[in-house]
């Protein structure tokens, strides 16, 4: 289709937003809350003309993509994607992901997106100046990772508790080389830099442990949006499968990770579903999963969510039994106190 120009949608204008919402509803899609940029193509130049196609993005994830049946096969997809890639470059983002239904993945493969993983419900593709192989090779080089067999843990550490420390110590005791991936996505109460620093300091006495940022391919809004959106049902199942598979297929293979440790999850449904998925997926790739019983204090499992609850209720005295010194010290810094105040006045689960 010649001369088609994508129009930017002002998402803050309820009328414009509703129009896109209504259009997407016709495809069983909805405009996700985290979308920050949306474009549409109209059937003609006037603002009144009806929408024939739309696409959005949330940071570097392209989503909410739809074209009406009559206009498929006219190259509209490439116009939309090119426009979004232009926008990303202008924002200094040189790499992007697309979530699509597996049946539509071929559309994006034809536009040079590369398939990372697909299951029955969802396919994840990427495009840009690097890919998952390059990202992992860079990680190997930057953190000086050798070829030996490794054991891995993935933790959000929001904040770092004695439970996390115990889990890492267990792994370090029984294995030669341990990698701790701290979730890099900054959607938790404690910012990534703080979480990373507390873990690094907290395990500095363990010489065979390396702490790494998890990057974009473990529990990020690309691989596992449910972790941050707290979704349930089929989508949750698809996302945990996706994240587990990417970890097994790429991380374990390229970094020679042969074992993964997780804590038993008594509270959180999403984390429990994630553990279940790991249990199923990892053995397929020859990776062993160890589920470790949580460290307890006075018969109650130590968890970061419990720590946040205590802070929220203002029961700060109990914290010294649940948190290592590094975290306790941090809570007394200006930034720490600010986070405590923020938590007291919030109701988010993160």
């Amino acid at each position: 289709m010649y001369g088609v120009i994508p129009n930017w949608v002002n998402l803050k204008d309820p009328k414009e937003r509703d129009e896109v919402e209504a259009f997407l509803q016709g495809f069983d899609l909805s405009l996700d809350q985290d979308v920050d940029y949306t474009i549409v193509i109209r059937d003609g130049v006037s603002q009144e003309a009806s929408i024939i196609a739309t696409c959005s993005k949330a940071r570097n994830v392209l989503k909410c993509f739809a074209i009406i049946e009559e206009h498929r096969g006219e190259g509209i997809t490439s116009i939309l994607i090119s426009a979004l890639i232009d926008k990303l470059f202008s924002q200094g983002i040189f790499h992007s992901f697309i979530f699509s239904k597996p049946a539509s993945a071929h559309v994006f493969l034809a536009l040079n997106f590369k398939l990372i993983h697909s299951n029955e419900e969802v396919a994840l593709l990427e495009n840009g100046v690097y890919d998952i192989y390059k990202a992992l090779e860079d990680m190997k080089e930057n953190y000086n990772l050798g070829g030996g067999e490794k054991t891995a843990l993935v933790m959000n550490c929001n904040p770092f508790t004695l439970g996390h420390a115990y889990l890492i110590e267990e792994a370090a005791k029984n294995n030669e080389e341990v990698l701790v991936f701290v979730v890099e996505e900054d959607r938790s109460l404690f910012p990534f830099e703080t979480r990373y620093e507390l873990v690094s300091k907290g395990v500095s006495h363990l010489k065979n442990v390396k702490v790494l940022p998890s990057g974009e391919y473990i529990i990020s809004s690309a691989t596992f949006p449910s972790y941050f959106l707290r979704e349930k049902g089929a989508r949750l199942k698809a996302y945990v499968e996706l994240d587990s598979s990417i970890f097994a297929q790429y991380f374990c293979k390229i970094l020679n990770i042969t074992q993964r440790y997780v804590g038993h999850e008594p509270y959180c449904q999403v984390t429990r579903a994630y553990n279940e998925a790991l249990k199923k997926v990892l053995p397929i790739y020859g990776v062993k999963l160890h589920v470790i019983a949580r460290k307890r204090f006075k018969d109650v499992s130590i968890s970061a969510s419990r720590v946040r609850d205590l802070i929220k209720q203002g029961e700060l005295d109990d914290l010294k039994n649940l948190l290592p010194d590094v975290t306790l010290e941090f809570l007394n810094t200006p930034l720490g106190r600010e986070i405590v105040e923020k938590l007291k006045s919030s109701c988010s689960s993160h």
């Binding site: 190259g75 490439s78 994607i81 090119s82 890639i85 040189f94 040079n112 100046v129």
Partner: protein, 101 residues
């Protein structure tokens, strides 16, 4: 997809790019060029094309010719071709590089 690495030569004075930049689109008869600096000093080209079998070599020549003509070194180029003609390819490469200097 294939990868070409042209080793750095010592005789001429070369210009380096400093940023990541792009030019072009993924539409039919166009080519999307992404350029980024690399530390090796070489010219690295990663080319994908829908007409790789017929014109892969020619596209490669056109891109490399343009890069050398502009005197650029230490550049990684990702090219995703949708059947662009030679002068389109040349123009897209030149624009991407000028945006990256």
């Amino acid at each position: 997809m294939f990868l070409i690495i042209v080793e750095k030569s010592n005789e001429v004075i070369y210009i380096k790019i400093t940023k990541i930049a792009k030019a072009g689109t993924l539409e039919s008869n166009d080519i999307l060029i992404m350029v980024m600096p690399n530390d090796s000093g070489n010219i690295e080209l990663e080319l994908e094309s829908i007409v790789m079998q017929q014109f892969g070599d020619v596209i490669e020549q056109v891109i490399l010719h343009k890069v050398k003509e502009m005197g650029i070194e230490g550049i990684t180029i990702k090219a995703q071709d949708k059947g662009a003609l030679d002068y389109t390819i040349g123009a897209r490469v030149e624009t991407a590089i000028k945006r990256a200097i």
